[in-house]
Amino acid sequence: MEVSRDKEYIYSSTELDRYEGQVIEDLKASSQESIPDPDEWLEGELSRNILLTTVDAIINWGRRSSLWTVSCFPACCAIEIMAIEGPRFDLSRFGMDILRASPRQADLMITAGTLTWKMAPNVRRIYNQMPEPKWVIAMGACGISGGIFRSSYSVVPGYNKIIPVDVYVPGCPPRPEALIHGIRMLQRKIARTPVVPDPLEFLQKGKQE
């Protein structure tokens, strides 16, 4: 973009704004249905043998005890996240004291705040940039269903229209104890997720193809 140094104020062109606006309108048109919650873990634990479950247990213990969060905190629930990082409700004791803004190094996204259609493409992009395995906690009433602003013209009614959500924590804002309870629920869910593929199943699948 041509930028001259002698102009007093430099404003960006409307071409860029129009392109971004088009992205938002496309996303809005394609997100009218909720994305279903990921629940394959519900049927995964019945028929696995002891060797696999031990390996699973060790890997899942590693994953759930050191969740690293990506910070994407639009609104008021962000203060409760600040409080939970603070000295009284210490989140570091769960292994979660890394709260950097880098999605490439994170595996948990806590969505703290109201989502608007203007912000939605950015949240989707951050979610796509996180490597597998990844989990999402929808925090607060605005995260679950749009909350007190549901009838507004620019608010997305819940994060599960844009990204799949694992745990929902209600409250406006939820107390730090409630959020810690939600994180513990997520840890229990991670503990029961099958990780290592069963070799016999694997071979059978290979034969079918």
Binding site: Y9, D17, R18, G21, I24, E25, W117, Y153, S154
Partner: protein, 146 residues
């Protein structure tokens, strides 16, 4: 205590300088015609006895037959304040001159009124939507937005 000047006091001073620019003047506020908004505002800012150098806010209200744009000005030195209003009749493309040359604090507020109400301000260097995205249909704070 900040004294809220009544519209009639200021109206007489403005009428002798710019005859025909006042539409009506009441106890709380003063309605100025759209074309003479800029000279009246400059007069209010520069006169020694009035010296309104601080712009509190700009806002707009949608009464169905007209839009009303409201400015509140304060003088920090003399500690008095006045409310000025202008009206735009007609719902298609209402236009009001921008006061950004006098008070730079009007920058984002005028963009907000354009975004949410549809009133454009001529003379503003960057008249774009600020809160909603480009491509949003309509102006939400109007009374006939669904």
């Amino acid at each position: 205590m900040t004294v809220a000047l009544s519209g009639k006091e200021i109206a007489s001073q403005i009428e002798e300088k710019f005859p025909g620019s006042i539409e009506e003047s009441g106890k709380d506020s003063l309605v100025v015609k759209v074309d003479s908004l800029l000279p009246v505002a400059a007069f209010l800012k520069d006169t020694e006895t009035l010296k309104f150098d601080y712009l509190n806010y700009i806002t707009a209200v949608d009464y169905f037959s007209y839009f009303e744009v409201i400015y509140q000005l304060t003088s920090l030195e003399h500690n008095h304040t006045v409310i000025i209003k202008t009206r735009c009749y007609g719902r298609e493309n209402p236009e009001v001159p921008s006061v950004i040359g006098l008070w730079q604090g009007a920058d984002f507020q005028e963009r907000e009124i354009y975004d949410l109400m549809g009133i454009s301000f001529e003379g503003h260097p960057n008249m774009k939507r600020i809160f909603l995205w480009e491509g949003f249909q309509g102006h939400p704070l109007r009374k006939d937005y669904l």
